[in-house]
């Protein structure tokens, strides 16, 4: 339903908002992510030899790429709700939705809450500090909230 291109597009959009400094390397990172998501390393580790800065996970692109897979959930939910229309049409509507453009589809409050929960869980898996995780979740859910 939801392809890499769409996930990357949403993730790039989120990176542009939350961590714009990561945009220059985003293409390389997303390529690596789609090739092998297991390459993500969150550990601060007790590196014996590396020059290791004592900062919490300082890279958000992998988190945002993972969070963008919440699109899968949104796509499935919308696909169930909307009986008619092709996959291509649904993808286009989803793109409109998270770009905050006029869209024929929308998620209800419960589904948006679920998207938020998925995003928070993803951030927790990546050991992102709570405040940052909330910020990411807010950014993602804002993409699916109905435009007023």
């Amino acid at each position: 339903m939801v392809d890499q291109e769409l996930v990357a597009e949403l993730a790039r959009d989120l990176v542009g908002v939350i961590a714009p400094e990561e945009l220059p390397l985003f293409a390389a990172m997303s390529k690596a992510w789609f090739a092998d998501p297991a390459r993500v390393q969150t550990n601060q580790g007790d590196d014996v030899l590396a020059f290791g800065v004592a900062e919490a996970a300082a890279l958000l692109s992998p988190v945002l790429l993972a969070a963008a897979t919440a699109l899968n959930y949104a796509g499935e939910e919308l696909g169930r709700k909307v009986a008619r229309g092709s996959v291509a049409w649904l993808r286009e509507q989803l793109r409109h939705l998270f770009h905050r453009q006029e869209s024929d589809v929308s998620l209800d409050t419960q589904q948006i809450a679920k998207v938020r929960a998925i995003t928070l869980e993803t951030a927790r898996r990546f050991r992102i500090p709570k405040e940052k995780a909330k910020e990411i979740a807010d950014a993602v859910t804002a993409r699916f909230a109905p435009t007023s």
Binding site: Q41, L59, F126
Partner: protein, 750 residues
């Protein structure tokens, strides 16, 4: 008038690369410790696992009884030797025969231990790039993936002046900011996580600081050492510790075995671990120093270091990373890199005796199996440490003292590292011997005759000499550094001469560490066993050719090597010592003046020698001679001996006088003056003989020269040291009263 103040600390950073770094000496120590640990553990495993009893089965069914019989026989032999009576012939137990089957089992075990350690260490070193690539999930950074990042990295590599840039690897999904230089044998790599890579755009100055730090590891040539060190530790764990623990479950349980094993294994593996981490910490500090030297301002480096995790308390001893606060301080002053660390010199001492112990164990086992007699075994046990271990220890300890002396002299202080460092090295040698012998505890039988008291006294003297030998050696190294360094600091570049001086100095220190101890031990034991023969033996030793010439030459080296710096005093291109400081602008060092004035020493030595030489004719013998030097006791020979003793005693007096008259490195100049006086006195003595019979002059020189020169030097050294301490006391009191002279000064070259 010149400003004679030394450069202050914060403004001028000393160049830590002027001498070989601590990383190398710690690496050598680590390898020695790892080999010692492996060989000792495997030899003790052979003893425990293969059962010592089996080795004695051929000659005695009861090991305890055999050991006691050998001990009894030794006690009786020593008692007869002391009393000067013949040793009674008894049916002897051929201990060598008893031990031989055991030796045949220990040797392969030691070879397996050493071999496994080498294979594992080299294996880890060889395979670590693959292992790291797997662990950090690295891939080659292609230019089309991140062209700006690659450009930035290449630019930084060219700033560092690398002949060949490393290959760049990365994990773009690595979320913690990390950078690491690794690789092997000249093919190095630089690995980055995505979080670190991103900083080329977000924080370029900190990114540059971190990358320069990693490149500094390549320029400092510590990458291979690092991975060999890491490999040696894990190799020791896998190839020695794991089998040793496994063996404990297999053999019969005895508390004494367990306690001895725990002491030995914990001590030596602990040493390996602590030394490995000390080496890893040292390499980080030198990389910081190198990288900060490349950077125009140190703020970016300071910012990068400030972001590191603090290392507090006891973790400082065990952590592979130095405390960031310590690293930040080095950006202001590199002086701490020049300190002669107590623990480091203690480590050198421990390594020396552990290394000697391994060679001793190896020599005993090989000798008993393959060599024709105990004399050869003894020679192997003596020559091994002298040829292999002691030079390493001399170089490691010597360079530490040279570095410390360099920093003190540039900062206008008297070098004072040798005494403390010598005490540390001396303690280390005694401790290392104890650790090496701990493995033998299970072999100590209970009951039976006690160890002969003479042997116990001999061992006590041995321990004392082990302790004192490095102190004397390092004091001499410091004296040489005090003469050579001020002269080297008058040149823009020290050239090969300083390196040669450091090398020669370390080489000359070998006898202090190696020969002085065993030689003095032999004398001490001989004196305990048979005091009557010591005097004649010494006299004959020092007067027999070529020992008399070699002895006099050795004595001459103690002052001539430091004094040789004087010949190098006029630089072809006098100028500011660029090599001494890490970055420009370099300061002048007006407080350093020539530390030697040989003219005065020669003058005093010649004058005192001639006056005393003339007065030798009036020497009378007021008491009956009791020296027993092995010459026929006639009135003439007695007077001759008295004149020789007088010639010897004049030299400490000359040495004391010179200490008070000259400035700079006083003890060395005092020894030189004593040598000059000794030569004049030896000639004067033989001219007196010439009056009786001109043909006696050559014979006179043959029988007296070695005694006068060597005896005079032996007496002059403590005399000069005491005089120097008294003089220092006066100077201290004088400075407290207001005539302060806090800087190191010598004679004015003009």
């Amino acid at each position: 008038m010149r400003d004679a103040s030394p450069p202050d600390r914060p403004s001028w950073r000393l160049n830590p690369f002027a001498f070989p770094s601590d990383t190398t000496s710690r690496f050598m120590l680590l390898l020695l410790f790892a080999i010692a640990a492996s060989v000792l553990i495997w030899s003790s495993m052979a003893v425990l696992g293969l059962s010592l009893q089996a080795g004695f089965a051929n000659c005695s069914p009861d090991m305890q009884a055999t050991v006691n019989t050998v001990r009894e026989q030794l006690g009786i032999a020593l008692q007869h030797l002391q009393e000067g009576t013949a040793i009674p012939q008894q049916p002897t137990v051929d201990a060598a025969q008893c031990y031989r089957p055991l030796n045949r089992r220990i040797l392969p075990s030691m070879a397996i231990g050493g071999g496994l350690l080498a294979v594992f260490t080299l294996g880890i070193w060889w395979l670590h790039p693959r292992w790291l690539a797997w662990r950090m999930k690295l891939s080659r950074l292609q230019k089309d993936e991140a062209p700006e990042l690659v450009d930035a990295l290449e630019r930084i590599c060219s700033e560092a002046g690398l002949r060949r840039a490393p290959d760049f690897y990365w994990n773009p999904l690595g979320m913690a900011p990390r950078a690491l230089a690794y690789g092997r044998a000249g093919r190095y790599r630089l690995a980055l996580t995505g979080a670190m890579a991103m900083r080329y755009a977000t924080d370029p100055s900190r990114f540059r600081a971190v990358i320069l730090h990693e490149l500094a590891h390549i320029v400092n040539r510590d990458i291979d050492k690092t991975w060999l060190a890491v490999g040696a530790w894990w190799a020791l764990v896998a190839s020695a510790l794991v089998p040793r623990v496994a063996l404990q479950f297999w053999i019969a349980f005895r508390w004494v075995d367990v306690v001895a094993s725990v002491i030995q294994v914990a001590a030596i593996t602990g040493l390996v671990f602590v030394t490995r981490n000390a080496m890893l910490r040292a390499r980080e500090l030198y990389a910081d120093a190198r990288a900060s030297g490349w950077m125009a301002d140190s703020h970016a480096m300071a910012a990068a270091l400030s972001a590191l995790r603090p290392v507090r308390g006891m973790r400082r001893l065990f952590s592979p990373h130095p405390d960031p606060a310590h690293r930040l301080a080095l950006l202001q002053a590199t002086d701490p890199l020049f300190r002669a660390g107590f623990w480091e010199l203690l480590g050198v001492g421990v390594a020396t005796s552990l290394g000697a112990a391994i060679i001793g164990i190896f020599g005993a086992n090989v000798g008993n199996v393959a060599l024709p007699g105990p004399g050869w075994v003894f020679l192997l046990q003596l020559a091994g440490p002298v040829l292999v271990i002691t030079p390493l220890a001399s170089v490691a300890a010597g360079i530490i003292i040279w570095r410390a002396s360099f920093a003190s002299l540039v900062r206008g202080m008297q070098p004072r590292a040798a005494l403390r460092g010598g005490i540390a090295a001396g303690l280390g040698t005694v401790l290392g011997t104890m650790v090496a012998q701990a493995g033998g505890l299970p072999l100590l039988p209970t009951g039976g005759p006690s160890v002969p008291s003479v042997l116990v006294a001999g061992m006590a003297i041995w321990a004392t000499l082990l302790f004192l030998s490095p102190i004397m050696g390092l004091i001499w190294v410091e004296a040489a550094a005090k003469t050579w360094i001020p002269i080297a600091l008058r040149r823009t570049h020290p050239g090969a001469s300083l390196k040669a001086a450091v090398g020669l100095n370390c080489a000359f220190t070998v006898p202090w560490f190696a020969l002085a101890g065993p030689f003095l031990l032999s004398l001490a034991v001989l004196w305990l066993l048979a005091p009557a023969i010591v005097g004649p033996l010494l006299y004959n030793t020092f007067n027999a050719f070529p020992l008399n010439v070699l002895g006099a030459l050795s004595v001459a080296v103690t002052w001539s090597f430091p004094m040789a710096a004087w010949l190098w005093r006029r630089p072809r291109t006098p100028g500011i010592a660029e090599w001494a400081f890490l970055e420009p602008p370099r300061p002048a060092l007006p407080h350093l003046t020539l530390p030697l004035a040989p003219g005065r020493s020669i003058g005093i030595g010649l004058a005192a020698g001639m006056v005393a030489g003339v007065m030798l004719g009036w020497v009378q013998v007021p008491w009956a001679p009791t020296l027993k030097l092995g010459v026929e006791e006639t009135p003439e020979s007695t007077r001759f001996v008295a004149m020789m003793v007088t010639a010897v005693l004049v030299q400490p007096a000359v040495a004391s006088l010179v200490v008070f008259v000259v400035s700079g490195v006083t003890v060395i100049q005092a020894m030189f003056a004593a040598f000059v006086a000794g030569n004049v006195l030896a000639i004067a003595l033989c001219l007196q003989m010439w009056e009786f019979d001109p043909s006696l002059i050559v014979l006179c020189l043959q029988v007296s020269y070695g005694f006068i020169i060597i005896g005079g030097a032996v007496a002059a050294l403590p005399s000069a040291l005491i005089a120097a301490m008294v003089k220092a006391g006066f100077t201290h009191i004088g400075s407290r009263l207001g005539s302060g002279e806090s800087t190191f000064t010598g004679s004015n070259p003009t």
